[in-house]
């Protein structure tokens, strides 16, 4: 156990430089989502959604898997950061808050992994 005070430990170390990291990440992902989400919505409008062949070909064609992967990545990133702030504001009690934050991160990571795996499968099928 150290006898140094918490203040003594951090003095002179400078700031971690990460204080505004969350804020910037939320804005950066929001900016990315502006064009990506518009592109996705327009594509949805034009796709015959019940037609499996048309949809799966579209998902695998050209740069579409890349844009879809970017869309998923920025969606999950932005969503995780946003839900995190909501939890921090409304969930009280340190252990419940910590658990909620953990579940939030894990759930978003899982959704992202499943989505990217699906895209990979679709794109690889298109390549053969």
């Amino acid at each position: 156990m150290s006898l140094r005070s918490p203040l003594g430990k951090v003095l002179g170390r400078g700031s971690a430089g990460e204080g505004v990291g969350h804020w910037w990440a939320q804005r950066a992902s929001a900016l990315l989502l502006v064009p990506l989400s518009v592109w996705f919505l327009v594509a949805l409008l034009e796709l015959p959604l019940t037609d499996y062949a048309a949809v799966s070909i579209w998902m695998a064609r050209g740069w579409n898997p890349v844009w879809l992967a970017l869309l998923l990545l920025s969606l999950c990133w932005h969503s995780r950061l946003g839900v995190q702030v909501v939890i921090e504001d409304y969930v009280h009690g340190p252990s419940l808050k910590f658990a909620s934050l953990l579940v939030n991160s894990a759930a978003h990571l899982l959704v992202l992994a499943v989505g990217l795996y699906a895209l990979l499968r679709l794109a690889m099928r298109g390549a053969t």
Binding site: V34, S37, V83, V86, G115, A118
Partner: protein, 130 residues
């Protein structure tokens, strides 16, 4: 724990429509976070093959699912337009009280308009292909 200064309790303020927009931004955001599951379900079903996609397509075309999809669309329209308002604030524009109150009305109008146009176009999201 030391008593730290807190921002005044919400009930201290006279209610203004800008407050409703603020909380609606969070509500729509959390609602769309749940929508991610549906988006990924749709992608995964397409990756799983024709039968799985047909099943997912039938589920997402059901009455209840359509209501959910329209609610996600509404949430998206609002969150998108109000998100641009937030980005403008972050860039330092429109922070005066009278501006924030005016842009709130613009946001509502644009979001409703976008929702109506998109809902009309997507009305039957899983409509039969022409």
């Amino acid at each position: 724990m030391t008593e730290r200064p807190l921002s005044p309790h919400l009930s201290v303020y006279r209610f203004l429509h800008t407050m409703a927009l603020s909380i609606l931004h969070r509500i729509t955001g959390v609602w769309m976070a749940l929508g991610l599951i549906t988006l990924v379900y749709w992608l995964a079903s397409a990756a799983a093959g024709e039968d799985a996609y047909a099943r997912a397509s039938a589920r997402l075309g059901g009455g209840f699912a359509r209501v959910l999809l329209l609610l996600w669309l509404a949430a998206f329209c609002y969150h998108f337009v109000n998100g641009v308002r937030h980005l403008c604030w972050d860039a330092g524009f429109g922070l005066e009280k009278h501006q924030a109150r005016r842009t709130a009305k613009v946001v509502i109008a644009l979001a409703v308009l976008a929702f109506l146009v998109l809902a009309y176009r997507l009305c039957c999201p899983f409509r039969a292909s022409p």
